[in-house]
């Protein structure tokens, strides 16, 4: 899966867990929590959705990599290398 494809996957997940937010202007380098209403349970939704969709296991110590869209995509590239969008 390419970086663009991974970004699209993350955007779809964010749209599901924050349906009241307009994400069209989401900035990739700015932390998610500064741009949208996200609490710890929402954050776990991102982890859970990735687990369900691609069987990606994200250990708790790696949660910090999911801070921004850019860092999330970078973190997921090797894990989703062989996955199809």
């Amino acid at each position: 899966m390419s970086a663009d494809q991974i970004r699209q996957v993350i955007m779809k997940i964010l749209c599901r867990i924050a349906p009241d937010n307009d994400l069209t202007a989401l900035k990739d380098e700015v932390p998610f929590r500064e741009q949208m209403e996200l609490d710890s349970m929402d954050f776990l939704d991102i982890v859970m959705e990735l687990r369900k969709l691609y069987r990606v296991q994200i250990p708790e110590e790696d949660y910090g990599f999911l801070n921004t869209m850019a860092s999330t995509v970078q973190y997921l590239i090797p894990k989703l290398q062989t996955a199809t969008a």
Binding site: I17, P19, D20, E37, M41, M48, R51, K52
Partner: protein, 426 residues
């Protein structure tokens, strides 16, 4: 004992609890006005319904707009019971005329009766992990906050910023009345100054309740959905499961008068007791005792009651037992009217007792007892000549309404509401 004989402390105005706001959603109405109009018009809310594993069946389904009081995210985060409770609580508060920003939120309590809670979410999660070979690592982290037993009441506190006590009262199908009673007691104890109380149900979203009633031989079937819920009728064949909610704002009489609130009625009597005989089968002796205790606490005799809102669910045995109980208390007095709301909407479980009382409260003003529909051939074993069959009955007077609600494990409840007639009462 606080009051001699367990009686009502009517001499102390601060112990008098009145209804000042009503919020509801029912399969045939999302406001009291709409609900009442459809009850008087004989309009059923039962429809075809499909649910996982069961397939085609019947149910009473509500069509209120959850986004009226919730964001999409809140709907997703919470439960159906929570959405129902939030809708009803907000409607009740709006209707009460309270200036909500000025209400001290730490003096408000939320007391919501439920028949069950958590089955919907548990079934959904098991279905979800079944797609992953039962890998529990995909079990939702939302499961616990959604399934704790206080969840619907807690969602109301989040919606309205209430910081007083909240709890759900598990009371099977007596839960609606149990919610009212809890609210009344907390006001009388001085624990709160405003109670949001009643009952809710999300039960149509759990296949288990349909499957359980079907296995018990107690799930209604009928080619015409609106004809399926038939309490007291010879052709009744079981329960139509429904969802819904009914919540009141309850206040002490002096508080309500001080702010010039509209008063829909005063809860003057209540009782709860237990059969202690069977898991499922009711006991008419204990049901009658429950009604008599409510009358005693109201300080009135059975001759004072004008309208009995029956619990009957259209099961073979339950309708007969309740008929015996009502007859043993009220006899054949024909000035009494007995009706049944489940014939319109099915059995709304935790909300049943609440909706059944609320739909009858307008009788204080319009002097009609709404009907029991689908009563084509009255079962002679349900020998209650006062049942209002198929068309509403004009009443000479409606001063007192008694609302029955009974449930599994032999839980019985009765609530008596008196018309509030203003200055004559003060």
């Amino acid at each position: 004992m606080l009051f001699e004989g367990g009686g009502s402390p009517m001499s102390d105005p601060n112990q008098r609890i009145v209804i000042t706001g009503i919020g509801l959603t029912s399969p045939n109405g999302n406001s009291l006005a709409e609900f009442r109009a459809n009850l008087l018009a004989g309009k059923s809310g039962v429809s075809n319904y499909e649910i996982r594993y069961i397939g085609e069946t019947l149910a009473g389904v509500c069509n209120f707009d959850p986004l009226r009081y919730q964001k999409r995210k809140d709907v997703r985060r919470g439960t159906r019971a929570g959405s129902i409770a939030i809708y009803c609580a907000n409607e009740a508060v709006q209707q009460s005329g309270l200036s909500w920003p000025d209400v001290p939120k730490n003096r408000v309590g939320v007391f919501i009766g439920i028949t069950e809670h958590g089955n919907v979410e548990t079934e959904n999660e098991i279905f979800e992990i079944s797609k992953f070979n039962y890998d529990t690592s995909v079990w939702s982290h939302h499961h616990n906050p959604r399934t704790v037993a206080n969840s619907p009441a807690g969602e109301v506190t989040l919606s309205l910023g209430i910081t007083g006590p909240h709890l759900c009262i598990g009371a099977a199908c007596a839960a609606g009345n149990a919610g009212f009673i809890q609210g009344l007691q907390m006001l009388r104890l001085g624990e709160v100054d405003l109670a949001i109380a009643g009952g809710v149900s999300e039960s149509i979203h759990t296949f288990g309740i349909f499957a359980g009633f079907k296995s018990q031989g107690a799930l209604a079937t009928n080619p015409e959905p609106t004809r399926a819920s038939r309490p007291f009728d010879l052709d009744r064949n079981g329960i139509v499961v429904a969802e819904g909610g009914g919540l009141l704002t309850l206040e002490r009489l002096p508080d309500a008068l001080r702010r010039g609130a509209r008063i829909y009625g005063e809860i003057v009597g209540h009782a709860m007791n237990s059969d202690a005989t069977d898991f499922v089968l009711p006991d008419p002796t204990r049901q009658a005792e429950c009604m008599r205790l409510a009358l005693q606490r109201a300080g009135i005799g059975p001759e004072s009651i004008d309208l009995v809102s029956s619990h009957a669910t259209a099961t073979e045995q339950g309708d007969i037992e309740e008929s015996q109980a009502i007859h043993s208390v009220f006899g054949d007095r024909m000035s009494l009217a007995i009706n049944n709301t489940k014939s319109f909407i099915g059995h709304a479980m935790g909300a049943a007792g609440a909706l059944e009382l609320l739909g009858n409260l307008p009788a204080f003003d319009d002097h009609f007892a709404h009907a029991t529909i689908n009563l084509d051939q009255p079962d002679p074993r349900c020998a209650l000549p006062q049942i209002v069959a198929n068309t509403p009955r004009k009443m000479d007077r409606v001063e007192y309404i008694l609302n029955n609600s009974f449930g599994m494990l032999g839980i019985n409840s009765a609530v008596i509401v008196k018309r509030y007639s203003g200055d004559q009462e003060e």
